[in-house]
Each structure stands twice: as C-alpha cells, then as structure tokens.
C-alpha cells in the first residue's frame, strides 16, 4: 500500500481570480483545466480551484471548509486495489475517472487515490559552503541570485483540524499503513505514508467539531534560501505573513506561513527530515520552544546608507 504523498488538493472558492492571483504570486505553475484553475509544483503535484457552487465538486466536510478533496498518489495500480480491498471492509469506495478511487476518512474528509501524477525532475539542492565539509558549492558559483526564478518543487503536506484525533489517526495508521513519526501530546500525530521518507505528509490537530477543516498545507521548495527569497517576494506583494521564517524541530523543515483566502494558512517549506521504519517517534508537549528551533523577523533597512536615516532605521 505504497502511498507516496499528496497529488492534488481540490478547493471550492468564492473567487477564482483571487485564488489564481495568490498562487501565481506564490510561484506555482499554472496548468490549464476546464472550469477552474490548477497550479502545480515542478513535479506536477498541485492545487485546484473551482467555484464553490460548481455542481461537480464534492460537498464540504463542514460549512466554511473550502477543501473538498485530498487526492493522494500511489506507486502502482496494485496499490489502488490493496486500498480498495482494505477500506471497502467498512465503507463505500467509489471508482472515479482516470483509474482513481475515493472514500471518506474517519473525520469526513473526502480522499482520492490514484497512480501518482508525480513527474521526475532533476535540480540540485541548495548547496552550502562550510569549513571542513567535503561537499561545497562550486567555485565561482554564487549562493544567491536576487532575480532567480523560484517555483515550488512538490506538494508537501496537509494539516487537518479533526474532532477526534484517535479515530482520525486510526484510519490513516491501521487502514492505510501510515506511521507516526512524532507526536505533540494532546494535539496530534505527524504521519508518514509507506511510499515516502518525508517526516510527514499529514499532521492531525484535535479541535472542536465546528473548527474541522484545514490548518495549513505546504509545498516543498529547494532550500532555505528559496523559502526566504520567495517569502520575501510574497511579503513585498502585500501578502500577510503569519509565522516565520523559522525552522521547525519536528521535521527540521524551514517554514514560513502566510494567511490565505482559502480559510487556512499556506506554508512554504524546505529541507524536511527523512525517516525510515527504524525511526522511533518522539512525544513532547507543544509549545513555542518545541515547535521552532528559531524564528526570525524582518527588518527592512537597518544600516545607514542611501535611502535610510543617518543612523539607519532599526527601530
């Protein structure tokens, strides 16, 4: 049952033009579809938006949740049949177009499964120079190009607010073969499916029933510089940062969270830990100290120079 991760998140939105502007500015790649908008990362995973009243859209799990479906990719058609055989023991599994199936999870989120649409691509990771390190950036290759094109590389993870964490987790772990990689006590688990080494593709947060929905979703970027530079461009365009830039402890991923018109945060992340089956999950109480290794704040211009006061503009 090799689920490799998220393929597509499908939303019903009040204003398609706003959704389009948001993801164009985020750096995602527009891929034409009928009746809506689709934005992709470099590997072809992505997000889709349709008018909220489009009859083709599945219903929202609760009023106010704009996410209508979470589509995961599997490695081959046999995986689909394994999921169908397991999940159909206690719930309906429907066949839909393009070799894909769909069912509800234990919280009322609609899930789709399909042979993954991920395309292979080859780009270097962010290279760093460090004294003593064998692997460094090539001589005369610059670390930063302020004008470089930045695009998300793949759809990384989704975080659900769920009314019953134990029931929600049971479905992903016992039925779909996910592993818990780390856990915040009294909050919920980070979950990794069998077909990836990423620290998490899912994180569940216990919340009152009227809050059910999405806390955030994220795309992976090529490295911390991509996150910082792309996030800074986003801020310059007027988007509202929520948390970051910083680096998480669980997963070690660099993060920058932004408000969005989709009823949830949208994150840019990079350099997440990889874990295999030998990894033993950690459990800690959630706090600022346990969720972030560090957090930075932007100062636009602090040094004296052209365009700033004589003593800089630190305050």
């Amino acid at each position: 049952m090799k689920i490799v991760g998220l393929d597509t998140l499908i939303f019903g939105v009040e204003d398609l033009a706003i959704a389009g502007q948001f993801f164009r500015d985020y750096g995602a790649i527009e891929a034409p579809i009928e009746g809506g908008l689709r934005f992709e990362a470099l590997d072809g995973t992505g997000v889709e938006f349709y008018p909220a009243d489009d009859a083709r859209l599945p219903a929202a799990p609760v009023a106010g949740c704009q996410l209508r479906k979470t589509v995961m990719g599997v490695s081959c058609a046999e995986d689909l049949e394994a999921i169908r055989a397991e999940v159909s023991k206690d719930r309906e599994v429907r066949s839909v177009a393009d070799q894909s199936i769909e069912c509800m999870d234990n919280s009322g989120f609609l899930l789709g499964f399909q042979p993954t649409i991920r395309k292979a691509f080859h780009l270097p990771s962010e290279q760093a120079n460090a004294p003593g390190a064998a692997s460094t950036r090539q001589v005369n290759r610059l670390g930063v190009d302020a004008n470089q094109t930045i695009a998300p590389r793949t759809l990384s993870h989704i975080v659900y607010f769920v009314p019953d964490v134990a029931a929600a987790e049971e479905f992903y772990v016992r039925r779909l073969g996910f592993r818990c990689t780390d856990r915040f006590e009294q909050v919920g688990p980070f979950l990794q499916p069998m077909g990836t080494l990423d620290h998490h593709t899912h994180f569940l947060i216990g919340a009152p029933p009227h809050m059910q929905g999405v806390e955030h979703f994220a795309f992976h970027f090529g490295g911390p510089t991509d996150v910082m530079l792309n996030g800074s461009r986003f801020v310059e365009k007027g988007y509202q940062p929520f948390w970051g830039p910083g680096r998480h402890l669980f997963g070690s991923n660099w993060f920058w969270y932004f408000n969005s018109p989709f009823g949830c945060h949208v994150e840019m992340d990079a350099d997440m830990d990889l874990h295999d089956a030998s990894w033993r999950h950690r459990t800690v109480q959630l706090s600022a100290d346990t969720s972030q290794a560090f957090l930075t704040r932007v100062r636009e211009k602090w040094s004296p120079g052209p365009g700033t006061p004589k003593h800089g503009a630190y305050a």
Partner: protein, 116 residues
C-alpha cells in the same frame, strides 16, 4: 463633535477614502501587520483592531486590506476562515464562534478626518 483626546492621535485618512463594501488597514510604517482597519457597510464606517480573537493578536487579512469576503458581507480571517459580521464584529462561523472583534477607538472630526 467629540472632544479631542489628550494623547496625540494619528490621522489615518478621510472618511470618503473608505468606500462602501471595502476595507482599509492602517499600521506603523514597515510593521509586519496593520494595527487596525476601517470598513464601510450600509454607509456606516466601522473600525476594528486587526487581531483575530481565535489567536491573540493574529492578523486577519490574507493580503494588505483584504479583510472582507469577495461580496463584502463578512470580515474573513485569513488564518482559519473565521467570519465576522462587519457591523457588529461578532464571529458567526469558524473557530472563535460567538467571540467579537475589538472595536478600534477612532475619532472623526467635523471635516471627516479619521484619527486613531
């Protein structure tokens, strides 16, 4: 006209610069988020602090001045989608259901200048 306050207030704008069904945020230059926002609904100007009651102090808009739903009938939080009545600030859907946005203590002088 209301008496001018003892503390110096900052002029935000003229009331005519807040159009029906639209919102405008105001903050200190260079700050990561605006302090408050004005909106006009059914002719009336309302002012609220830019702080979602769900998470103390969390900014509401998803982009500069993007406080309202597309058709202008609700203030929408860009964090988790909480929806508030624009004339009362009461949350009618979302994580802080039943809680209220705090009104910002603005003053409007006889010429229509808005101060905070």
């Amino acid at each position: 006209m209301a008496p001018m306050p003892d503390l110096p207030r900052r002029r935000l704008c003229h009331v005519s610069e807040v159009n029906e069904g639209q919102a405008r945020g105001f903050g200190r230059p260079g700050a990561a988020q605006d302090d408050l926002f004005l909106l006009r609904r059914n002719g009336q100007v309302h002012a609220y602090l830019n702080a979602c009651p769900h998470l103390a102090g969390a900014p509401l808009p998803w982009r500069k001045d993007a406080y309202l739903s597309p058709e202008g009938s609700a203030i929408v939080c860009g964090a988790h989608g909480a929806r508030f009545d624009p004339t009362t600030g009461l949350c009618f859907q979302g994580p802080c259901l039943g809680e209220q946005l705090r009104r910002a203590d603005i003053m409007i002088d006889e010429k229509g200048n808005v101060f905070y």
